[in-house]
Symmetry: C2
Subunit: 112 residues, 2 copies
C-alpha cells in the first residue's frame, strides 16, 4: 500500500511534534499490522485536527513496525488519544504487537 507520493520532511526548524511509535511484532503479524496502521491513518487519524504526516515502516527482519508521525503540537496529539474512534484503532493495533509511542523533538539533521 503506497498511499502518497508527497514526501514527509524532517527539519529542525519545522514547528511539529514528532511521534515515533515502535511496535514489536512476530513476523507472521507484521504485514497485518502495517496494513492496519496504513488504513487507520488514511481513514481516521489523518483527518484529526493537528495531524501533519505519518510514515509506516516495516523492519527487514520482520520483528518491528514503526510509525514516524508528525503532529502540530503535543496538545493535538493528546486530544487524538482521547478520541474513541482513534482509541479503537490503537487498541486493534495493540492486539497485533506491543506499541511504544514516544514524543520527540528533532535535535539535528545531517547530510552527506
Amino acid at each position: 500500500m503506497k498511499e502518497s507520493t508527497v514526501p514527509t520532511v524532517i527539519d529542525v526548524d519545522a514547528d511539529v511534534t514528532t511521534l515515533i511509535n515502535c511496535f514489536t511484532v512476530t513476523p507472521d503479524r507484521q504485514r497485518e499490522l502495517v496494513d492496519l496502521l496504513a488504513r487507520a491513518t488514511e481513514d481516521v487519524m489523518r483527518h484529526r485536527p493537528g495531524f501533519v504526516a505519518a510514515n509506516i515502516h516495516a523492519s527487514l527482519d520482520g520483528t518491528h513496525v514503526v510509525n514516524y508521525a508528525q503532529w502540530a503540537s503535543v496538545e493535538a496529539f493528546q486530544a487524538m488519544l482521547t478520541d474513541p474512534v482513534c482509541q479503537e484503532h490503537m487498541s486493534a493495533a495493540g492486539q497485533l504487537g506491543s506499541a511504544e509511542p514516544v514524543l520527540y523533538t528533532v535535535e539535528s539533521v545531517h547530510h552527506h
Copy 2:
C-alpha cells in the same frame, strides 16, 4: 546543535534503506548522547560511502534518543559497521544508553 537546514525527505519511492536506532537512556545522560551522536555523524558517519542522512531526536520525557537515518543500501550500512572508527563511536554511544538499531523499508506515507 542544529547542523543543517537541509531537510530529510521520507518517501516510499526513495531508493534508500532506513535505519531507526532507538536508544533507551536515563534522563541525565540524554543530552550527552544527543551531542555525541550529532558530533560522530558530522565528523565521521556522514563521510562514509552510502550515507544519505541522519536525524537525531530527543524524547520529551528524557528516556529515549532516536537516530532516524538513511543509507544508500543495506550493504553500505553493513560496511560502515565494520569500520573501526565507526565502531569506536558506536561503542561510545552504547556506554550512554542501550541501542536498538533496526533496518526498515518505508511502506506508506500519509498526509493531512
